[in-house]
């Protein structure tokens, strides 16, 4: 978490293998990501799912085809089973029966949920979310947060969320990193609820209490 421009999305691009870090390393299970061959990197990336801000569904494909693509590309599963898995994934995100719809035919919130179904298509170990509640109404945002928590508990996946939505931060996170816009470094780490109460850093306090200034 952090203010706009602090590098949250850039960090996410590094974590998801889209951007090579100018300095520093990315480790997955103790494996240095960028020291591996391209093939190995792709294998590691398959263990991650990403939900982008807009859902990033491929507009020329139906919702079902979007979810099925990673399964078709990276597994040798039969088309029949792929269809069943797609149906289950869509049911998990509350989109049962939407398999044949094009992304343009559904709402923004649904597109995000469909993006989530695609992100968990390969049962990833880590699911990254880039501003999941951006552009959603409070109810849809809350529903998405609940869904993320339910999927975390049931799939056992690690969830990494980049956000500045306080409601989502407090609802979902049990650990957090606060990035600073000026120094472009970590300013604080820990449980956001604890940070909100006990952090002695004025910026962190200001951010988590959603105030325009902090009384010292």
């Amino acid at each position: 978490m952090g203010e706009s421009g602090c590098g949250k999305s850039t960090l996410l691009r590094h974590l998801t293998g889209l951007k090579r870090p100018a300095a520093g390393d990315i480790f997955y299970h103790g494996i240095n990501f960028w020291e591996r061959s391209r093939k190995k990197r792709i294998q590691l990336m398959q263990q991650c799912g990403v939900l982008y801000q807009s859902g990033a569904l491929w507009s020329s494909m139906t919702i079902g085809e979007n979810v099925a693509l990673p399964l078709q590309q990276f597994t040798s599963v039969s088309d029949e089973l792929i269809k069943k898995i797609v149906d289950i994934k869509l049911a998990l995100v509350g989109l049962k029966g939407f398999s044949n719809y094009l992304p343009s035919a559904i709402s923004g919130g649904m597109r995000k949920r469909a993006g989530l179904a695609r992100a968990i298509a390969l049962d990833p170990e880590i699911v990254f979310f880039d501003e999941p509640s951006a552009g959603l109404d409070p109810i849809s945002s809350r529903m998405l947060d609940d869904l993320i928590l339910e999927l975390r508990d049931s799939l056992g996946a690690t969830i990494v969320i980049v956000t500045h939505e306080l409601a989502s931060i407090f609802a979902i996170a049990d650990d957090s990193i606060f990035l600073d816009t000026e120094t472009r470094t970590m300013l604080a780490t820990g449980d956001p609820k604890v940070l909100a109460e006990k952090s002695d850093n004025s910026k962190v306090k200001q951010f988590l209490s959603r105030s325009s200034s902090v009384k010292e």
Partner: protein, 373 residues
């Protein structure tokens, strides 16, 4: 460890236990499950699961459990999910949660007649859109002439540069090769009559009246028309056009006018440039392959190509310039709001422009022939 499932009928005779062991993951497919359909056909009233020996599971296991649960529920057999891993129980609950209801007015399939009808309506719609857009452009030019149009002069300068000097290399290459090819083909036929020298007439007239303006227009349709459609289409996707509208700036004045004006101004110049380069291509073949003396070829060209021929080409090129810019801007401005729509708009801009160029050229040729120019 291989995935296994054993079915066991409990002592009460009404409860079926399914005992899972091994790794039920996508990598261990195919799974061999007992025929649950048959097993549930008897006096079974309850089904339960034993997963104490289950090592690993993923979505593929969930698919099987969901299918069994659904089957049992449809036969009013009670399902005891307590023996399942907690994760699977939670996922099952999620799949059974209330979901959004798909809209019913969304059609997935249509028959031939429906398709023909839809296409006809779409064509009629497109024709109407073209007329409406023409009217809007006319109004936009009225505002332009009265100084009321809001646009950036630097945009106009940029587009003038983009569709003028920037296009010269490709126009040079294509026009030279067209003149070159025309001279070759003409020479073969004319040589039979000993009229090699008329290659200069053939190349000169064809380039100035037809090929110069047409090749320039086709190149610009592929290069600039497509670029206009993609630029404006992407602006639609990014809601940049909406932003202009909400600010009270007419998108046609701001976005379409500079592009269209630039192309209408530059196209005749490109056509004249193309004429000269094409004639140079013919000259090259005439002098070096057909052994016609350069001065003779030059004289013959001057005699054959009069100012009228150039004017015909210039008039055509102005109209072609309008058509290319019109198609590019029309398709871009009416583009949908997805990446797919931008692709379709770009393709459609190029295809429509080329079709209109060829049709208009045929009309012009007929007209000039009738009036004797």
């Amino acid at each position: 460890m291989n995935p296994e499932c054993i079915s066991q009928l409990n002592e009460d005779g009404h409860t079926l236990s399914l005992i899972f062991s091994g790794s039920w993951t996508i990598g261990n497919l195919p799974f061999s499950l007992p025929d649950v359909q048959t097993l549930l056909a008897g006096k079974i009233a309850r089904i339960c699961f034993d997963t104490s020996s289950l090592n690993q599971w993923d979505s593929s296991f969930l698919v099987e459990i969901a299918a069994i649960t659904e089957l049992a529920t449809s036969k009013t057999i009670s399902v005891d999910v307590n023996g399942l891993p907690v994760g699977i129980r939670k996922l099952l609950l999620l799949t059974q949660k209330k979901t959004a209801i798909p809209p019913t007015d969304y059609s997935f399939e249509s028959n031939l007649f429906e398709e023909i009808g839809k296409h006809t309506l779409r064509i009629a719609e497109q024709v109407l859109e073209m007329f409406a857009f023409t009217g809007e452009i006319f109004l936009s030019y009225l505002r332009f002439c009265t100084g009321k149009a809001r646009y950036l002069k630097k945009d106009l300068m940029f587009f003038l540069y983009d569709c003028g000097p920037q296009a010269l290399p490709i126009i040079t290459l294509i026009s030279f090769l067209v003149g070159f090819t025309l001279a070759f083909i003409g020479a073969v036929q004319l040589k039979m009559f000993g009229a090699d020298i008329y290659v200069a007439n053939l190349v000169g007239l064809t380039m100035t009246r037809e090929m110069g303006p047409m090749m320039a227009a086709i190149i610009m349709a592929g290069r600039t028309g497509a670029s206009y459609a993609a630029q404006l289409g992407t602006m639609q996707v990014n809601e940049e056009v909406d932003a202009l509208q909400t600010m009270g700036i007419n998108p046609l004045d701001f976005l379409v006018l500079p592009r269209m004006t630039a192309l209408i101004i530059m196209m005749p110049m490109l056509a004249i440039f193309s004429d000269f380069i094409g004639i140079a291509g013919g000259f090259f073949i005439g002098c070096f392959s057909l052994d016609i003396s350069p001065s003779l070829y030059y004289e013959q060209t001057i005699q054959a190509v009069t100012l009228n021929h150039f004017l015909v080409g210039i008039i055509k090129s102005v109209v072609f310039g309008y058509l290319v810019a019109f198609c590019g801007c029309l398709k871009g401005m009416l583009c949908g709001r997805s990446a797919d729509a931008v692709g379709k708009a770009t393709t459609s801009a190029v295809v429509t422009a080329i079709v209109l160029i060829v049709i208009t050229d045929a009309g012009f040729t007929f007209f000039f022939n009738v009036i004797g120019i």
